[in-house]
Symmetry: C2
Subunit: 381 residues, 2 copies
Amino acid sequence: MTQSNQSQILGVLGGGQLGRMLIQSAINYNQDVYILDPDENAPCKDIAQKFTQGSLKDFDTVMAFGKECDVITVEIENVNTDALQALADMGKKVFPQPHILKLIQDKREQKQFYKENGIPTAEFMLTENKEEVLAKKDFLPAVNKLGKEGYDGRGVQILKSEEDLENAFDAPGLLEKLVDFDREIAVTVARNERGELVAYPSVECAFHPTANLVEFLFAPAQISPEIEEMAQQIAKAVILKLDMIGILAVELFVTKEGKVLVNEIAPRPHNSGHHTIEANFTSQFEQHLRSVMNWPLGDPGLRTPAAMVNLLGEEGHTGPVLVEGKDEALAEKGVYIHMYGKKLTKPFRKMGHVTVLDENVETLKKRAQRIKDLIKIKSTT
Amino acid sequence: MTQSNQSQILGVLGGGQLGRMLIQSAINYNQDVYILDPDENAPCKDIAQKFTQGSLKDFDTVMAFGKECDVITVEIENVNTDALQALADMGKKVFPQPHILKLIQDKREQKQFYKENGIPTAEFMLTENKEEVLAKKDFLPAVNKLGKEGYDGRGVQILKSEEDLENAFDAPGLLEKLVDFDREIAVTVARNERGELVAYPSVECAFHPTANLVEFLFAPAQISPEIEEMAQQIAKAVILKLDMIGILAVELFVTKEGKVLVNEIAPRPHNSGHHTIEANFTSQFEQHLRSVMNWPLGDPGLRTPAAMVNLLGEEGHTGPVLVEGKDEALAEKGVYIHMYGKKLTKPFRKMGHVTVLDENVETLKKRAQRIKDLIKIKSTT
């Protein structure tokens, strides 16, 4: 018989919406969560057991924070991995493990990892500077990615033809063959120290045409059982090859020829899993908690088909938040609004999301579009 | 088009588990919640935007707290209603309205309200003292209830025969004919200022044999469509006759003759609605928020049949909490644990609850019993 007096402290580097939704799950288990975030108004501030304002990139700050915790995790990859390694060496549980965060921080290492481990991914070439990109014009059309510091579409650009080459990044990066994909899907996998491994059903992602952010997500993905099986196997292979503990979002391309290629991965709760809060038996946030705390993993199955709509700050609006259309949306059956507690909006800032449940997959697409047209995040000034 | 900048403060009198689960819902809407509770370690303390330690019964304390809020609600009935009335007179929104709380605080007034409004309820007689009860031996078997201060089974006893009469309460109370019921059910209704009114499907309650607390709850109740319709209509009639805004739990007896009688009511989220967090389209906590904030009400429909098990402190255990069997329970599909953040356990204290989802209603009963046998709330000392 297991016993638990819930005395372990979980520390999270980052106090944004992902940490906030993690805390919402942790409350159900009396699981204390400490948060470190540079923003004094971070979304987690009011609901964490302890909130520390400080840099995630500063060695001493992360060390001091981590020493107060028993288990340490992240909701953002861009953190000081040397401090995390030092904490792990002290005996703290750090999940995902620091070497995995280090790998994720460099897209060049990530791609090489796929190659070395037989994980299918788009063909690529490493480039050290702009000059090297310019020399690769035969490789176009391609995606040019910075090795480091890319996030939410920053540090990523498409180079279609020779004219685009003048925008090439002049820093270590890579060129990746532009994949002529049929659709983009994502599979979330989770693994704990007991060796349990679960995979969520694939979801389908629709990106914003210009902002390079997920705009809509649909679960389940409209793919064949064979593609689904391939996607699940690839996602499981990635977390196993990484030997990772925690939750991992694997974004995949399904090509027109029916191949499945890894695009990017995120070793934390991810935008592509937000619908799981209402749509699946176990939400990705609870699964993250279960995996890093080494509790039994939960069933990842889908209860009800769902769409997810990101609520991005409207263009032309910067300042205190004004939400338009909330009431109309709330009046609909199976509509779930999640606001992230951010005091200020700015164009394309992720301010919240909405999940729509509907047994009818076709209806879901229309309803998601209507919700997007209805709810607008503006500023009061 | 409605607009909302979420600047209204919601104040809650009481910071126990009901307030805690209300805050978990409020987080999704950036809805700030202030809490007043006499216990410095109340379950809401760490997650409320503002926590004030103070008496719920003291006029000045409630006034000072309420003045900081725009909308004021309760998670317990035993509060200073004079202060709430004064706040309402100042223009604050107070839901449920103070006169309703006053009515609920006195079981004698409650019963007379049913009688005057044609709400079916068990036959009763008012008694002023023990002597009056002794004179009513022809009315036995009966339930003897104290008019005031009863809660969770306190102030309620069954007088079966003349020998029991010596235990009669010697204070203003009532005698209620013991109902030979087939089952006990509950219907939750909610109403907002827009005049919207929704009713949840009936649930079936199984009480602890000695502690007079709900031990198990099953949704939906195993009753005929006719009984279901009667129960829904009665619950709606109660909230309408009360002219109440907020959420109201109506506990009902279904008699062996197929009558439906109101037993007790609670104008707040209630133990009989805990399963709604996972089992229904809109949880009772979100519905409470929607009703008192005058947002559109949510669909009350059941998504999946469910059982709810209260986690009560084990007999013989008083002190810091030790949870046994959590891991085994978590390994099951569709099991949701909610711990209430209470630092100390004592016999029969409500420490948490578990919801079990299962499409098979028969399986649910077995699984609920297994969860109850598995998870034990003990003390570390």
